[in-house]
């Protein structure tokens, strides 16, 4: 056992002490934050260049229209098409919209756009949206509705959940939204982490094989000790990174709660200056505080340890297959790639199922995928926030544990042969035989 500790120690410290580790640990969250900041910035900013567009209104739809929408500026001067075409040639307008007369019996209405360049997709939808309501009002009036009735046509629909058996539990309309968002985030993180650290295991094993140090190592320790040491050591690197991110995340979320004034003991902090800005936007503030309230209502004491359990199960499951692949593959990149597909296919399937499970956590697909071991470590955590039945969680964990034990055994058998096998192409048939080799 002490030798496994030595191996774990080497695998851990040679990775944690590198600059790459420090960079990824501290820069990755900053990088992700920056990515979202840029994304939000781009989305709110829209197109940069203003376009001036003349409208010829033959349908009477421009009465209450806004003259400036996003980057589009409208000219309602109602000149003739010929005059406007001259203006277009002179570069005074960027395009001409012609609204043909409207027929209330027609289901389709084509607006004509005169210009040598088509509109951008967001511009097209802006214009479509702009005329949707006037057209509907026009048709409604044509059918004999009055303005006062028209105002009441629009209804804001919400679904207010009420529990039947569990009277303690308080549900709100955003419960699903929050648990689905949380599930999505956790599922994605697990997928990424399993892939990143699993690949590291594979590369580490393959490096030892190719630079032949493995022969010296195997003359001191058993192959399975070497393999487990590597898997555990690299897993600990992953946990370390998680822990650091967790602490950073906690600091940030405490900051966020203070900012948006959630009143669970830290509510007093809401009175500070920073919160004052948020107060200026009461709608946003109430939304955020609802989300925080939902987050706080989740049973973290059960969910967090389960996340950890599934991370460990998923990681060991895939890392051992990655280790076997690294041991089987030679220095041929193509060979390694074709072997990697064995791992990547179930992992990618788990990821896609996780996305759908985030939206409908109780669908048949989500339930089964969260029980079947190959996909469970990614899919079940996605469902956890929405509170799946306990039997499903227990069954899933038990099956995963059994499956992990089986996979570690299987991977170790491939590993011990593959790591000493040089120059022979590792086909799947060949690897199948290795499993049956005696020591």
């Amino acid at each position: 056992m002490s030798k496994v500790n030595l191996i774990i120690g080497r695998e851990y410290w040679t990775r944690v002490k590198t600059k790459t580790f420090l960079l990824t640990t501290f820069l990755a969250p900053i990088g992700i934050a920056l990515f979202y900041a840029v994304l939000i910035f781009l989305m709110t900013r829209g197109s940069d260049k203003t376009k001036s567009i003349a409208i010829i209104d033959n349908a009477g739809l421009t009465e209450n229209i806004e003259l400036k929408k996003n980057n589009l500026v409208f000219d309602l001067s109602n000149q003739s098409l010929e005059e406007l075409k001259e203006k277009y040639k002179a570069g005074q307008v960027d395009g001409i919209i012609e609204l043909p007369p409207l027929d209330s019996t027609q289901a389709k209405y084509d607006i004509i756009y005169h210009a040598d360049k088509t509109l951008a997709i967001d511009e097209t939808s802006t214009i479509e949206r702009m005329f949707r309501k006037p057209i509907r009002n026009f048709k409604m009036e044509a059918f004999g509705f009055e303005q006062s009735q028209l105002d009441k046509v629009e209804t804001d629909i919400g679904i207010s959940p009420q529990t039947i058996n569990d009277t303690e539990k308080e549900l709100s309309s955003i419960t699903n939204l929050v648990s689905s968002g949380l599930g999505m985030a956790v599922g994605m993180l697990l997928f990424l982490v399993i892939m990143i650290f699993g690949t590291q295991v594979m590369r580490g094993v393959n490096e030892e094989k190719l630079n032949r140090i493995v022969e010296v190592l195997i003359s001191s320790v058993k192959p399975i000790e070497l393999m487990l040491g590597k898997v555990i050591g690299i897993g600990l690197v992953g946990l370390t990174q998680f822990a650091i991110w967790g602490i950073l995340g906690l600091i940030l979320s405490v900051g966020a709660m203070a900012f948006f004034g959630y009143d669970a003991g830290i509510g007093d902090m809401a009175s500070n200056e920073m919160a004052a800005d948020a107060m200026a936007n009461p709608e946003l503030q109430s939304k955020m505080s609802n989300v925080l309230k939902e987050l706080m209502s989740i049973n973290w004491a059960i969910i967090l340890p389960l996340y950890l359990v599934y991370f460990l199960l998923g990681y060991v499951m895939y890392a051992s297959i990655f280790a076997a692949v690294g041991a089987a593959a030679g220095d041929d990149v193509n060979e390694a790639q074709s072997l990697t597909t064995v791992v990547m296919v179930p992992l990618a399937a788990a990821f896609y199922i996780a996305i759908s499970a985030a939206q409908s956590p109780d669908s048949t697909l989500a339930v089964w995928a969260s029980i079947i071991p190959f996909t469970a470590p990614v899919v079940m955590p996605v469902r956890l926030a929405s509170g799946p039945p306990a039997w499903q969680i227990i069954l899933s964990v038990v099956l995963c544990v059994l499956f992990v034990l089986f996979l570690v055994w299987l991977a170790a058998r491939i590993y011990r042969v593959g790591i000493m096998m040089y120059g022979k192409k590792a086909s799947f048939k060949e690897i199948g035989k290795w499993i049956l080799y005696k020591d």
Binding site: K3, L6, I7, R10, T14, E207, E208, N211, R212, I213, V214, E215, V216, L217, I218, S219, S220, V221, M420, K433, K438, D439
Partner: protein, 301 residues
């Protein structure tokens, strides 16, 4: 007492038998040569001795005990294909390998300091292995092989890639350790090195032992009654014929083959009777290289 006994060991792989019923003993404190052409089964056998693989049949005894989990700690193995972690520092790496062999941190550090000083490479401690030349890496690997003070060392082509100075350095280490009573198995194709270094050899081909024993007695067994003579004048032709053949005749020396039933005494007597002044006389024994080629050729037929 034998440090290593190999008894009827068989190792089969899918399509061929790598080691086929091999038996031999290595007495304690000897430098033992394990020879054979490529694919003879040497590496397969070494891997069984170092517990990397298990024998299908037969048994391997270390110091009289069947191979067990503690034996790898008493064996030092320098594989033919050298390998170290390129990105790790020399010191960390040696420390790690020494501790895997069961040394404590303190012990390992102490012993490593001793070896680094001995090889005058103490300033390499913080260098990454990848920065060292191939020959320098060999030295590091050699230290990794001997640092835990093994009682049996298995050196597979220990001099490949080394310059003459470092070859001598390692050779001296081998002699020194042997003088301290360590047993050494030396595997190589380089016959002149075997002749210099080894006392006993085993010659393998196609998975079987085809020759074993003391280097001197093997050479004696293969003596062909050839003699080299230096004297003034030419070899008297009347002595040739039934008794002797002249294989080579230079101005000052010649190579004589004694035929069946005739020996060196007869040769010397004949020359002395003819009053020829002999300057030197020696028996020419076949080189291990010749024996190797002859035996392997025979066994391949």
């Amino acid at each position: 007492m034998n440090i290593l006994s190999v008894r009827n060991v068989v190792k089969r792989y899918e399509k061929h038998t790598a080691v086929n019923d091999v038996s031999f003993n290595i007495p304690k404190g000897k430098i033992f040569g394990m020879l054979g052409p490529n694919g003879a089964g040497k590496t397969s056998l070494i891997r069984m001795i170092t517990s990397i693989t298990k024998a299908d049949q037969g048994e391997i005894l270390i110091d009289g005990e069947p191979l067990n989990a503690l034996h790898p700690m008493q064996i030092g193995y320098l594989p033919e294909e050298r390998g170290l972690y390129k990105k790790m520092k020399v010191g960390e790496q040696l420390l790690y390998l020494a501790r895997l062999k069961g040394l404590s941190q303190k012990d390992a550090r102490q012993k490593l300091n001793h070896w680094l000083e001995k090889f005058q490479i103490t300033d390499w401690w913080n260098k990454k292995v990848g920065e060292l030349s191939k020959g320098m890496q060999q030295k590091v690997q050699f230290i990794a092989c001997v640092v835990h003070d093994p009682k049996l060392m298995i050196l597979d082509e220990p001099f490949s890639g080394l310059d003459p100075i470092n070859t001598n350095l390692i050779k001296d280490e081998i002699y020194e350790m042997n003088a301290k009573g360590k047993s050494i198995i030396f595997s190589t194709h380089r016959m002149e090195q075997v002749e210099q270094i080894c006392e006993e050899i085993v010659l393998m081909n196609q998975g079987s032992v085809i020759l074993e024993g003391n280097v001197k007695s093997i050479k004696n067994d293969f003596r062909e009654d050839k003699f080299e003579l230096e004297f003034d004048g030419h070899f008297p032709k009347d002595m040739l014929g039934e008794s002797f053949q002249l294989l080579k005749d230079d101005e000052t020396s010649c190579l004589i083959q004694a035929n069946e039933g005739h020996d060196s005494n007869e040769l010397l007597k004949g020359l002395m009777d003819r009053n020829i002044k002999i300057n030197s006389f020696k028996e020419v024994l076949p080189s291990l290289n010749d024996i190797f080629i002859k035996k392997v050729g025979e066994s391949n037929e």
